[in-house]
């Protein structure tokens, strides 16, 4: 029996073959701690009695949720972080450079085949470059900082194969939202989501980031894209090593099996009625890779979709929601705040104007993206169209900075969660969509 991509990464690290369900202790290549949790990590680290970080160069501290501070208490987190970094010799501290999940790959901290942990659920993002990465709590993070190791239960893998060409205006965001609708918000719990197929290979690393980022919204522990030449270029590698190039799922690996495949969303898929059902049986040799061995999609079947209030797995085609008036549009976040997202929005908005009474808030994911988007004219176009452009960071996605909404308001947003109250009061309706869809909504003033 072969191995899944994640089983290969962990096997390479521990020096023997592992399979889904095994429990092993893994060496950790990189950790990320953000501003929200650093005070608690620091407390636990000291309580555990550690006097040094196992390797300070492998730890990265990023302030993003609270930058710039919007409440007096936020500042305490910066001081706690700075004190911890200084005491234990951490050089990699980003105080106003952008969102943690963008910076970890953009600044070269994560490479294909690495094992990474972060104090944030969207740490699944680094699967975009072929790394195993997952979120942990602050107690576990403190233990990793002290030891450089962590125990993991090797996840079972759900393989998703997508082949064919996406229709115009359909993006990676529409694919991952559709998949979340098919699986349900807990459908991939404890599993790895392994993406493969021609459509996925055609995606940029930015598009892969969007999909890996949202894997956790289906409950997944991690997501994984096989590294290829695009990955190598993005990670500034001359070439992939043999080990890195070997990170792909074998056809005869033991994948999670399903009773039947997905139905196109226009046909009632991605709704509760069409939700996929996992089979509680292990695949047997000879059967794997056959029906049920992978979830297979045709690129041509995808349409622009939205996650409707207030469930991330309540997915409907945009065409069914058309006409609903909106109050605000948010384009940004670790899901969709990258240059190609801003460019896609600018293409829609070029020469046009945001509808009256609609606020369009644009938040680049990092300072690097911000500068590129200035240089290539993207931010100019967005500004001309009436966008409010904010500093890089988590921004409105975590409901802490400018743009929070109030009762009865409706927002179309490109981030990853539409939980009750996330972007203002609990009576705000949050619709999640791609940057293309969001920009069109901003022009029209309605979905």
């Amino acid at each position: 029996m072969g191995l899944t991509a994640i089983e290969k990464i962990i096997s390479n690290k521990v020096g023997h073959r592992v399979h889904g369900g095994d429990i092993v202790t893994v060496p950790v290549d990189r950790v990320m701690i953000h501003d929200i949790f650093i005070p608690f990590v620091a407390d636990k680290f000291r309580e555990m009695g550690f006097s040094k970080i196992w390797d300070p160069d492998r730890a990265v501290l990023i302030y993003d949720h609270l930058v710039p501070a919007s409440q007096q208490d936020d500042v305490r987190h910066f001081h706690a972080g700075d004190a911890f970094a200084q005491e234990y010799g951490m050089a990699h501290v980003h105080r106003s450079d952008g969102i943690c999940h963008q910076l970890m790959t953009e600044a070269g901290y994560v490479k294909p085949g690495d094992i990474c942990f972060g104090t944030d659920s969207h740490t699944t993002t680094y699967g975009c470059v072929g790394a195993f990465s997952s979120g942990v709590g602050y107690t576990e993070m403190a233990a990793i900082l002290g030891t450089g190791t962590m125990w993991v239960k090797v996840p079972q893998t759900i393989r998703v194969e997508i082949d064919g060409k996406l229709p115009d205006g359909v993006t990676a965001k529409d694919m991952i939202l559709t998949l979340i609708g098919d699986l349900g918000a807990d459908g991939a719990t404890y599993c790895a989501l392994e993406f493969a197929g021609g459509t996925v290979r055609d995606l940029s690393v930015a598009g892969r980031m969007t999909m890996a980022n949202m894997a956790v919204e289906a409950g997944a522990k991690c997501a994984i894209f096989s590294p290829d030449e695009k990955t190598a270029a993005y990670c500034a590698l001359d070439a992939l090593t043999a080990e890195q190039a070997g990170i792909f799922g074998d056809v005869d690996a033991d994948y999670v099996r399903f009773a039947g495949g997905p139905r196109p969303v226009m046909d009632g898929g991605a709704g509760r009625a069409g939700r996929l059902r996992r089979l509680d049986v292990k695949a047997t040799a000879g059967m794997v890779g056959g029906e049920g061995g992978a979830l297979r999609y045709r690129g041509e079947d995808f349409v622009p979709v939205m996650a409707c209030p207030s469930q991330v797995d309540l997915i409907r085609p945009v065409s069914e929601l058309a006409g609903l008036p909106i109050d605000q549009v948010f384009i940004g976040s670790c899901t969709n705040g990258r240059l190609e997202d801003l460019q896609a929005a600018a293409q829609v908005l070029r020469g046009g104007k945001v509808a009256p009474f609609v606020k369009l808030i644009v938040t680049p994911a990092s300072v690097g993206i911000y500068r590129q988007a200035i240089a290539d004219g993207t931010l100019g176009i967005l500004s001309e169209a009436g966008a409010i452009i904010t500093n890089p960071g988590c921004g409105l996605c975590c409901g802490r900075t400018g743009g929070i909404l109030s009762d009865g308001e409706r927002v179309v947003a490109t981030n990853n969660r539409n939980f009750l109250g996330r972007m203002g009061t609990p009576k705000v309706e949050i619709y999640l969509a791609s940057p293309v869809t969001a920009a069109k909504c901003a022009l029209e003033g309605r979905i």
Binding site: G21, T25, G49, T139, E140, A143, T147, K153, D280
Partner: protein
């Protein structure tokens, strides 16, 4: 666990009821070899090959964290205060009947639901030596190990057991029930060390010579 304290598995405050007393009359089978522990796996118990004799409490599939401890009791000051309400939505009498050293055997997806760490803490506070289930929910699994509660995944045993029967767990090897052996996947030694120490924070404190 109080900051600065470095106790073991935290049974000391359970009124002194030892597993041996609690299990009297349960008809436990004596083991010929290995480090035999009756009932509560006190500090130092859960080493590979050690044997735990225990009485079974049988539960079904999908025992969620709201069953283990309903939200209305989460605001109580300590886990000790919450303990009497464990499993109350399902079996209000259960918490009072579980004796230190007993085991819970359940179906699939044990511990599903919220991330509340009180769920494994309360089961541990009741003195449960170990939870055996067909499968565990992810967050509960991590919280349990990191709080020092031994969990064992076994697919066949839950369908075979009868509540009140005894069983023998040979840590990291097998479960023996009614003369039949049910194999179990081994946990790495360093994970057993976490459980032995009473959780991750204590394990790290020990490692650093803090206790």
């Amino acid at each position: 666990m109080a900051k600065g304290a470095c106790a073991g598995m935290g049974f000391a405050h359970d009124g002194g009821a030892t597993g041996t007393e609690a299990n009297s009359g349960m008809g436990n089978v004596g083991m010929e070899n290995g480090n035999t522990i009756k009932g509560a796996p006190v500090d130092g118990a859960a080493g590979a090959g050690d044997v735990i004799h225990a009485r079974i409490w049988a539960l079904g599939d999908d025992i969620d964290t709201d069953i283990i401890i309903p939200t209305e009791y989460l605001a109580m000051k300590t886990v000790e205060d919450m303990k009497p309400y464990a499993f109350s939505p399902l079996r209000p009498e259960l918490a009072g009947m579980i004796a230190p050293g007993d085991v819970i055997v359940a179906g699939k997806n044990f511990g599903c639901g919220s991330s509340r760490e009180q769920a494994p803490e309360i089961i541990k506070a009741l003195g449960v030596a170990c939870v055996v289930a067909k499968s565990f929910a992810r967050i509960f699994f991590r919280n349990a190990i990191n709080n020092g509660l031994l969990l064992i995944e076994q697919g066949d045993l839950p369908d075979a057991v009868r509540e009140g029967d005894g069983l023998d767990i040979v840590v990291n090897r097998e479960i023996i029930y009614r003369g039949r052996s049910y194999p179990i996947a081994p946990l790495p030694e360093n994970m057993l060390d976490i459980i032995k120490a009473g959780g991750l924070v204590n394990a790290m404190r020990r490692k650093n010579g803090q206790c």
